[in-house]
């Protein structure tokens, strides 16, 4: 059976994971290793007057003063109006969010390190905290960075002729939408272990990251080291989701302290640290006006997007990637030609914004999908129909949309048709005509999106970031034993890349994945890669492995040709052997000839051997677009606000599927996270910037009983621009659920005159909206949202 592209191969990495034998940073142990605990700021905004270390702990505590010469995290961007921030690994002068690292404490055990951290006294002079991004935009707001004069990291604008559209619109929909601040909650939080390696003359840093090569670059820059003197190893990583795609202050300070003390030092983020100092994503605010004709055909969108990006700009993606992506992706899969959008990346006293699975698109998709349903209600039509009619039609592909994005292939309306069939829209509408026996209200919602994946130089270059991904390289080698080694600088942190890269090599070499070993995550052993983010792994690393494996296959055919007395062109590879007609030779014999018995090969043998490193870049590198429609049926209990998802379907298209089973796993997991965004997850703060959701008792993530049995169907529109027609899929499923679920809730609550425009849609929010609607029944109408009372 083939284990190549398209095969449902079981995951290679699961052998160790299921046996509990994987190696995470927390599993590592070196002689003389000590543990680290951080003193973190208890205040959201304050000047540091003094840090006092009790004499008995001298030499065990380090502060910014000890780290003189270490550069702060500073991410530049060439975008006009952008302001860079300096984020020291340990706070210097000021603290700007509760949870910011102030001092690093070391001890033989974590508990003792925490004892020391507790004994360190901070003398802080509190400053007013700014926790609301709209308030932070006002001229009288306290300043997070005094020298800026305002709290704006960046503003961007796209200026379409909205006034002309307004004049001819039959329907005008005005809404305000809000998405909550969230944590990403990977199973394994951040973790870093640094140790000096005297033999190599290197600092070796084990860290739970998606981007080991970038971390080496970042550590070298901040610590003032030659990159060759730093080796970064990402061992097994327990989930990333974007949380681990940026340089972490803890990586810098732990690496510095290991050099300073000459001792292996480790820090593992605990859950409270994650839920407070890691509350760094998703928080958007929209003011949006949509213009449509009498059938609900979109004429234009006028939007203002405010992203609460927290106190600092992360390296390398900056504080502005989110809002820039929001502005660029708000039109999503829809075809309309007038667009005005202003975006604000606003500094507040919260942790530094980090892009999370879907990057901005879960927010923009939520805003657009609720707007489409609001338009449908306003024109009295079925939302699924209005949605399908507004999507870019298949015959228009490839299509350049209103923000200049080049959609490569696909049938977007077809995904609505598919989801509609799967969930049986007609049956749900029929069910709604009869009251439910338990008094609940049933509703259905759809949500469609495009996901730009594997975007490269032109896109990132336009943002002027410190990092611009372009190519990807991979090394593929026929090892002496006749097995194949693949080396990639990308990384796998749960998404199955160890298996899918092996499948790509298997496809090219005709060798089963069991005989293919994939090595990733170690800068000492792999070609440079900017890493795993932007759903680029399968497209880019897959493309590179495919290219290198194809090249290796050519060399194997050459060597085999010598051994089989055949022309290389007549040699084919399958089943771990090279074939010429009926004659064949095993990979093992081919390898033996090259490594041990070159006397079997002609004098003119190609001495480049059986090890190939090749690079890859798609023909068009502005990204390839995966898309999908999700649909949900919910039952809402109007007495309690409780929501049950009765049915959930996904109709997806990500081009060629390398491993459909792994892909389904990605879709289940992403949808689960999206449902968390829709119904549960919310990092709350009080007015002083104190985090109120610091344990899992307060920060609620969905569990198995809250998640529906999802049903998935696929279609494959190959990308014309990439090897094998592959598109990225890593992020997509997290994008749509909020739109689908909240549209379904609003559909259910329509008889009560309630419309929710804020997530998570908690029982409390839903109930509050219902109680408010009951109190003021006359003021409710189709045009009015709960957060938009002036309609």
């Amino acid at each position: 059976m083939s284990t190549g592209i398209g095969a449902r191969v079981l995951r290679k990495e699961d052998a160790r994971h299921l046996a509990g034998k994987a190696q995470f940073v927390g599993d590592l142990s070196f002689p003389r290793q000590w543990e680290v605990a951080f003193v973190r700021s208890p205040l959201a905004h304050a000047c540091i007057r003094a840090i006092t270390v009790p004499g008995r702990h001298a030499g065990r505590v380090f502060t910014a003063d000890d780290m003189a010469g270490v550069q702060p995290i500073r991410a530049e961007s060439s975008l006009p109006t952008y302001k860079a921030s300096d984020w020291p690994a340990l706070a210097r002068g000021k603290v700007r969010f509760a949870g910011e690292c102030v001092a690093l404490c070391i001890a033989p055990t974590r508990a003792e390190a925490e004892d020391i951290a507790e004994a360190v006294e901070l003398d802080l002079d509190p400053l007013p905290a700014i926790t609301d991004s709209l308030a932070a935009r006002r001229p009288d707001a306290p300043l997070v960075h005094e020298d800026w004069g305002d709290n704006l990291f960046l503003t961007t604008s796209a200026d379409g002729d909205i006034e002309a559209v307004r004049a001819r619109a039959a329907v005008v929909i005005e809404r305000e939408y809000r998405t909550a601040r969230q944590c990403m909650v990977p199973m394994e939080g951040k973790a870093v272990l640094a140790r000096p390696d005297e033999r190599q003359g290197q600092l070796v840093v084990y860290t739970s990251t998606q981007v080991p090569h970038l971390i080496r670059t970042g550590l070298s820059q901040t610590l003032g080291l030659d990159q060759a003197d730093v080796r970064v190893i990402a061992p097994d990583v327990g989930g990333g989701f974007g949380y681990k795609c940026v340089l972490q202050p803890e990586e810098i300070s732990v690496a510095w302290a290991a050099m300073r003390t000459g001792r292996p030092l480790r820090w593992v983020e605990d859950r409270r640290e994650h839920l407070t100092a890691g509350a760094n994503t998703r928080q958007h605010h929209y003011r949006l006006t949509a213009f449509a004709d009498a059938r609900g055909r979109l004429l234009g969108i006028d939007a203002e997007v405010t992203v609460d990006v927290g106190a600092y700009s992360v390296w390398p993606f900056t504080a502005c990637l989110e809002a820039a992506q929001a502005g660029g992706n708000l039109p999503g899969p829809y075809a309309f030609d007038t667009y005005r959008c202003k975006t604000y990346s606003v500094a507040t006293n919260k942790p530094a914004f980090t892009p999370y699975r879907g990057v901005a698109r879960p927010g923009v998709c939520f805003a657009m999908e609720l707007t489409i349903d609001a338009i449908a209600r306003a024109v009295g039509r079925e939302p699924a129909d209005v949605r399908a009619e507004n999507l870019v039609p298949a015959e228009a592909m490839p299509y350049t949309n209103v923000t200049g994005k080049l959609y490569d292939s696909g049938d977007y309306p077809g995904s609505v048709t598919g989801a509609r069939r799967m969930i049986d829209l007609g049956a749900v509408r029929a069910r709604q005509r009869t009251p439910e026996p338990d008094g609940r209200l049933v509703g259905i919602g759809f949500s469609t999106f495009t996901e730009q994946t594997a975007h490269g130089t032109r896109v990132f270059g336009a943002w002027g970031l410190p990092l611009v991904p372009g190519y990807e390289q991979a090394m593929v080698k026929l090892a002496p034993s006749g097995t194949v080694e693949v080396r990639s600088g990308n990384h796998s942190f749960g998404q199955g890349l160890e298996t899918t890269l092996a499948q790509v090599a298997s496809e090219q070499l005709g060798l089963g994945v069991d005989h293919i070993r994939v090595t990733m995550g170690d800068t000492g052993e792999t070609p440079y890669s900017t890493g795993a983010y932007a759903s680029r792994g399968m497209v880019m690393a897959g493309g590179a492995v495919s290219t290198a494996a194809e090249s290796l296959a050519g060399r194997i055919r050459q060597h085999a040709g010598h051994l089989l007395q055949a022309r290389p062109d007549d040699v084919s590879l399958s089943g771990g052997r090279a074939w010429a007609g009926e004659a064949s030779v095993s990979f093992e014999d081919i390898a033996r000839a090259w490594y041990l018995r070159p006397d079997q090969l002609p004098d003119a043998v190609d001495t480049r051997g059986l090890e190939v490193t090749e690079g890859y870049k798609p023909e068009v590198d502005t990204g390839v677009f995966t898309y999908a429609t999700h649909a949900a049926v919910v039952a809402v209990d109007p007495a309690t606000g409780a929501v049950e998802i009765l049915d959930y379907v996904l109709f997806e298209d990500c081009g060629r599927r390398v491993n459909p089973m792994i892909l389904e796993g990605q879709s289940y997991g992403g949808t689960a996270q999206g449902i968390g965004t829709a119904l549960f997850e919310e990092s709350l703060y009080d007015d002083n910037g104190q985090p109120l959701t610091s344990t899992f008792a307060d920060y609620v993530v969905p569990g198995p009983t809250e998640l529906p049995s999802m049903r998935i169907e696929h279609t494959e529109s190959l990308s014309p621009f990439t090897r094998h027609g592959i598109k990225g899929i890593g992020e997509g499923a997290a994008i749509a659920p909020a739109g689908a679920v909240v549209n379904a809730i609003n559909d259910a609550l329509r008889p009560l005159g309630v419309e929710l425009n804020e997530i998570p849609a908690t029982p409390r929010r839903i109930l509050a909206a219902i109680l408010e609607a009951r109190a003021t029944p006359a003021s409710r109408g189709e045009q009015g949202g709960r957060t938009c009372p002036h309609h």
């Binding site: 055990t109 925490e114 569990g703």
Partner: protein, 275 residues
């Protein structure tokens, strides 16, 4: 998130545990299943110098069944109650309450005694035992006493227990064969602490009818007016009346919370009516 340094003592008997408590001044804490105290230790919210583990003290284990009562040892786990065959309405209700607490992993270690001593206003046993008019058996050095559940919970995380006492047994009066319990809670997700809960016991033979609402205010409270109405009319609860009584009794004024509490109590009443 590691606890402060503490001394661990594995108690072998109630007397041993009491002696250790007495010897430690106010610096010792009892630990049973540790499902509430464990996180509090790790968050350093609890900082005892000594932990006295009573989870395997024989006298605190086991469930005794008499004609009048079900008597559970304080160190009986929720799982043990959940998995126990139920012979009558009281035991069935106890099984239902136990099975709804948190997750199985928590229930495997968490104990009924630990739950009431911790006195979280949203704890399931606190509402149920108040509803069932349970009696709490308490031992101190050289003395024993009994406290009714309504006098045991004083406020959030505060009970009638003094620092050197141990809850030994929880005695739940057995309801008559015609009695009906109703229990309902509203949770954001399976296993989360309730946002509101209602517990109801109607026992016409004993002329006993009690309605309790929990997870609002500082502790679960009895709703006598709702109970009188239920006993007299056997009719579904009036939401407005429940809301008004809860506002008065529990001092809860947030309209959404109040509504949830009234709905939880109302549904518990409905359940009791259905039997």
């Amino acid at each position: 998130m590691k606890p402060v340094d503490f001394t661990y003592h594995h108690a072998t008997s109630v007397d041993d545990a009491l002696a250790r408590l007495a010897a430690s001044g106010d610096d010792a804490k009892l630990i049973g299943g540790g499902q509430s105290l464990g996180p509090m230790l790790n968050l350093r919210l609890a900082r005892p110098g000594t932990l006295v583990d009573i989870s395997s003290v024989e006298a605190l284990r086991g469930i005794e069944s008499t004609r009048e009562s079900v008597i559970a040892g304080a160190a009986v786990t929720h799982t043990e109650i959940e998995d126990r065959p139920a012979a009558d309405a009281t035991e069935r209700a106890m099984r239902e309450v136990a099975a709804g607490i948190a997750y199985r992993a928590v229930r495997n270690r968490g104990t009924i005694g630990g739950s009431i001593v911790h006195a979280d206003p949203a704890a399931d046993w606190a509402s149920f035992l108040l509803c069932a008019d349970a009696r709490i058996h308490i031992r101190g050095v050289g003395r024993e006493r009994e406290v009714r559940m309504r006098d045991f919970t004083r406020a959030a995380y505060t009970t009638a227990l003094t620092p050197h006492e141990i809850v030994t047994r929880i005695e739940i009066p057995r309801a008559d064969t015609g009695a009906r319990f109703g229990f309902h809670k509203l949770c954001r997700k399976t296993g989360e602490l309730a946002e509101a809960m209602g517990a109801v016991l109607v026992d016409p033979e004993r002329r006993y009818c009690r309605v309790v609402v929990g997870a609002v205010g500082a502790k679960p409270v009895v709703l006598p007016a709702a109970a009188r109405c239920l006993a007299a009319t056997a009719a579904p609860a009036d939401l407005e009346a429940l809301r008004a009584e809860i506002a008065t009794r529990a001092g809860e004024h947030d309209p959404v919370k109040l509504h949830m509490a009234a709905v939880a109590a109302g549904r518990a009443i409905d359940r009791a009516l259905v039997g």
